[in-house]
Symmetry: C2
Subunit: 119 residues, 2 copies
């Protein structure tokens, strides 16, 4: 997974477990795409201090995920929902073929049953 | 929500954040349906001690949920998946009515699109 995408996902799930100070700096780096230098200047702290804080936040968030696996659970569910959505997209030929539509409906039924158990 | 159901859900999501000792006693109470007296005897601690530990675990788990709302997010997603599943259950009359099937397919498309955004 690309680093910034992973950071955003982890922060979306577990960010509330960071302190307000950590949240504020982490958001500047990850969401507002500010450089370490820019954050350091804005906050009046050293570039190294910003770097360490972000690294520490990364570790805290990763530790929560390695215990709880909730990002992973959500991502898997999301993928399955994507498969369901894809099955609903019929070409006009398929839409007139009732058997084909029913076969897709059956696949959706099966996928949604699985998904309900996983959530 | 019924207490034991709520405890089970919260523990399923956040239980890994308790200590092994807390987990073990909480599981006896919530999953194995043991009484405070039984747990106290088994562990050689007081009934009051068991009571306090379980109350403390309840509070820890609820505090995580009040910050992260992940049980709530999952429950909402699960409900929507249930709606999708229900839409796939066609009577034999409906199954032969291609327009009716396509209308349901359209509703599923819309629900799965919403769900994908929420997950």
């Amino acid at each position: 997974m690309e680093k910034i995408f992973e950071q955003t996902l982890l922060y979306d799930f577990y960010g509330e477990l960071l302190t307000p100070h950590q949240q504020s700096i982490y958001e500047d780096a990850v969401y507002n795409d500010m450089s370490l230098g820019e954050i350091a200047q804005e906050r009046g702290i050293s570039r190294q201090g910003v770097h360490d804080l972000i690294k520490r936040c990364d570790k805290i968030l990763q530790d929560y995920e390695s215990k709880l696996h909730l990002v992973e659970r959500f991502q898997k569910a999301k993928q399955k929902v994507g498969e369901i959505e894809a099955l609903t997209k019929l070409s006009s030929d398929e839409a007139f073929d009732n058997d084909a539509v029913l076969r897709r409906m059956e696949q959706i039924r099966s996928l949604s049953g699985e998904l309900k158990m996983e959530l």
